[in-house]
Symmetry: C2
Subunit: 575 residues, 2 copies
């Protein structure tokens, strides 16, 4: 591509509504333009990157044996009514009526359409397992579209759906897709983690999210520093390697702690490390007579409660709910700021200690009396009756639940999600096949999404500097830039540029020849903003020495390369 | 691709609503399925063909220097209000409201969005000419979707838009795109014609349609049997090579022609060839005082009037309108069935004869008296005052207007359309650039569409037989089928299949290995229905002679090919 025939549309400044780096850089590099809230046009530089991502995704899906289909973007309401989601989906579903006043939506996802297809086209177990994918524009009417194409209303998604006679077959395809997703992100060259995820509202049994690690991510990911373990912080098991509390060495002492309503205040006031304190939270539970009651949860002072884990425990109200302050005062005789485990059992309250709290000794806790705490509490001596469970979020430094290494927590951007949907949709739409015995069996389904447009943004969040984008080689808009000095005046420069351009292009490289009548500074800035990995500068001075000046976008050092070696140099640098 | 992992979804019978061949065959070959009226899912076989067409289109657009963009499918109403089309477009525009009650449409075309982009991103004549294209799903809410994906509501279109400082620059890019379109259809291997077209409602000055010739087409195309000339029948100039009428040889005779209200009846009754008669039509005109008047149009009896040509003449009402019967009787004294040119001038009626009618001699025409006609009329002697113009549709056998060969008329399917839009949209949205003198100039625009999904159907309309589709090599879903006989039982067959499969695949061919446990007849029928150009049958009998059985889908003869030559045979056959 010759720059004189190209549309750069680069900007010095980002629009004021762009708060994340990728959004700023995509606008500044001339990759996208907003047409309406959450609706973008992709400009040539954006499309070039987008198509490279799309190509890698398509290729890996095909290698994984998935068959490409293209489903309609506009979907009839009937199918959504059959699955029950026409009512349930909420205002993110863009509903509309056609000229005959029939109801449709602009599809945010395609479980219904693919299940309708499957129930018509799949009749025998012999056709299974089968896995369909498409790469398509979806629409979600986000209440607050933001972060550019990261959370836009229109976005491109690769969605795949697999069909099976058994959960075992589903698990096999799920594993294949898990690997295919890893291949996609490995090929693009992203730092990512497949993390165990909550299945959330879509339903189903088992699910992984694929997160690109970046500070701007919206999710906290806990992963091991020395194994493959990774999970959403809320789902990672908090392990305590210590098996037993140390023997007591302190006396139980009641201390006056005026105005210390938080555990931080108490620790400060008593000059204790917060890890020597516990916090006791009272939540709503259900007793053996199905009556609402209060349950006490005890965590180390520096730990945070994990509501998902708590509500999965027997005898706890789900969704998770704290006990009301009046109930607490009535039952315990003090306000929530002074609650502690000692003495609660005597008031008929069940106590569950977090694994880490359960092995503490000589610790500090509320005295169940306003403005008083105990120091020197020891479980066995002072409060021997309690249960132990995993109640908290993991923190950095926790041992990894798989026994290898310790937990690191980073923010992640979700770019993929794979689900075992089970029979939910197939049941709703009655999609069955005949099994080996000629009996109709509702199919099992998996679904697998990758945010194609979001990957473009996520790759930037992970790869940029103050001059612009640092694309991974695999998805850079151009592989190589040739910046011509005095292109219009020097015949020698024009010839050298042309020769190198032809040579690199013939090797299948995507080359930008900057032949514009612009100052070198402008050309360099555009190259850097666009993040082109390799740059040659061709000028008369270098030509006199038979060299081009080369600069790698990431390594950043200028070096002179002999003209006849330039092409091979790039080919070996790209390997 | 192994057939055991593929979804065929082939059907013996076409659905009853499929009336054209391509629709029937696309459903039967498992290429598409209707989800809702005019909305289709493309199945794997359909997608494979679609992607090949898309790839050729994209490649030729890039070679023509067009830059790929992706505009949003859902478009804000504001832009359409600015261009005036929000009101004008009618119910084919699928309008909708988002969750905040703002108006949008699902885009049927993108003139507004691209012009909005151009007015923001293009500021200087130095950036021009520039040409943007996208390949995208569009929506037109057809009142009667039909013919499968040929006239569906959702369809894939390549639309391109070019911007210029001058009409001359627009003409240059228009010519480049004209050639690019020819390249696309040549590469696919279709019999097509670029035809001069009416610009219709989209406006603009100059336009060509690209038609694939097929009996099921909705348009009549006139083209030369020995040159590149082609035009929509309504736009082709009707040429008359004869320059002057022959001298009169017959007397003018008034004859009684009872109940002969049509020219066919008159010719039959008088035992004349219809080419020796003329028909005289009275249409509304405007005289020099801007008063409505009647104008007589005279055509040879076997020719048909062309309203487009007539309404472009001076002094004729546009849109074209016939004179009312009462007006005719009042002015001439007889009903329309007996009108003729002789005597009209005397009644103050302007006469325009079609070029072919103007060189007739000794002809028959109405006598302007109910139930009477003249025979032996001659212009010079009997009716000397008349004008001559091109008033009629061309017919087969007419001389081609470019002077080369004669006209042939065939039906065509419109698969592409290129337009010189001029300044219409740029004016409405005030899209200007600064010219060389620093003065703002409204840009000139071209737009260029190709129906990507429609090409798939049109290619079938042109290439099928009673067994199924006969794909051109360039877009066949698979290049080669390997049909295995007794795949599950014969180790030798499995090995031979596998070897050939690997060998052909390594050469970049798209190969279907039919390893299913089906009868050979089923496999052959699927191969033929899907239109796979090359087929090998591998069985133990052939292997004993060191041969595979080869069949070309189009030529249809079986031949034995030595195993070691099979791969080279295909490679040279594909050239």
């Amino acid at each position: 591509m010759r720059a004189s025939n190209y549309l750069f549309s680069t900007l010095r400044d980002a629009p004021t509504d762009a708060v994340v780096t990728s959004h700023q850089l995509m606008v500044r590099a001339g990759m996208i333009r907003q047409i309406s809230k959450g609706l973008y046009t992709w400009l040539p530089t954006g499309v070039k990157v987008f198509r490279k991502v799309e190509g890698i995704v398509r290729d890996e899906m095909q290698k994984a044996g998935a068959l490409e289909v293209i489903m309609p973007g506009v979907q009839p309401a009937e199918l959504w009514q059959e699955s029950g989601r026409w009512q349930k989906y909420g205002p993110e579903l863009l509903r509309l009526k056609d000229r005959h006043d029939r109801d449709y939506c602009v599809g945010p996802t395609h479980e219904e359409v693919i299940t309708e297809l499957a129930r018509n086209e799949l009749t025998s177990y012999k056709q299974l397992p089968i896995n369909f994918f498409q790469i398509q524009t979806k629409f979600r009417d986000e209440v607050r579209p933001r972060f550019g194409v990261m959370r836009s209303r229109e976005f491109s998604m690769k969605d795949a759906y697999s069909f099976h006679v058994s959960p075992e077959s589903l698990q096999e395809t799920y594993d294949v897709m898990h690997q295919a997703y890893c291949n996609v992100f490995d090929r693009i060259g992203l730092d990512y983690r497949p993390v165990l995820a909550d299945t959330g509202s879509i339903g189903g049994a088992y699910s992984h999210e694929f997160h690109v690690l970046a500070d701007s991510g919206e999710d906290d990911i806990a992963f091991s520093d020395s194994s493959n373990f990774a999970a959403n912080v809320e789902l990672a098991e908090a392990i305590c390697l210590k098996e037993k509390a140390d023997p007591a060495t302190q006396e139980l002492t009641e201390v006056f702690t005026p105005d210390c309503k938080t555990i931080q205040k108490v620790a400060e006031f008593l000059k204790l490390d917060v890890t020597k304190t516990v916090k006791t939270m009272l939540v709503k539970g259900i007793d053996e007579n199905e009556q609402e009651t209060i349950v006490a949860l005890v965590l180390r002072g520096d730990h945070n409660i994990n509501e998902l884990k708590v509500e999965k425990l027997d005898g706890i109200v789900s969704p998770f709910e704290f006990a009301g302050e009046t109930d607490i005062i009535n039952k315990i005789g003090c306000a929530p700021g002074s609650i502690g485990p000692k003495g609660l059992k005597e008031k008929g309250i069940r106590i569950i200690a977090d694994r880490s709290a359960a092995v503490m000794s000589d610790f500090c806790a509320g005295a169940n009396k306003d403005d008083y705490h105990f120091t020197g509490i020891n479980w066995e001596r002072d409060c021997p009756e309690f249960e132990v469970a995993d109640l908290r979020n993991v923190v950095e430094g926790d041992p990894s639940p798989d026994g290898q290494g310790t937990i690191v927590i980073k923010r992640g951007i979700e770019v993929g999600h794979i689900f075992q949907l089970g029979q939910q949709y197939a049941q709703a739409l009655n999609a069955s096949v005949l099994d080996e015995n000629g009996k109709a069996q509702i199919m099992h389904m998996g679904c697998y999404g990758i945010g194609v447009s979001r990957i473009v943004a996520a790759a930037i969040e992970q790869n940029f500097d103050d001059k612009g984008i640092l694309w991974p080689e695999s998805i850079a808009p151009f592989d190589v830039a040739i910046v011509a000095m005095n292109y219009d005046k020097s015949e020698a420069v024009r010839e050298a540029c042309e020769t190198l351009y032809q040579e690199l292009t013939a090797k299948g490289l995507d080359v930008l020849l900057d032949d514009r009548k612009e100052r070198p500074g402008v050309k360099f800035a555009d190259c850097e903003l666009l993040g082109i990995p390799h740059r040659f500068v061709i000028g008369d001075k270098g030509l006199a020495n038979n060299t081009f000046e080369y600069k790698n976008r990431i390594q950043g050092e200028n070096q002179d390369i002999a003209i006849e070696q330039a092409c091979d140099f790039i080919l070996s640098a790209k390997k």
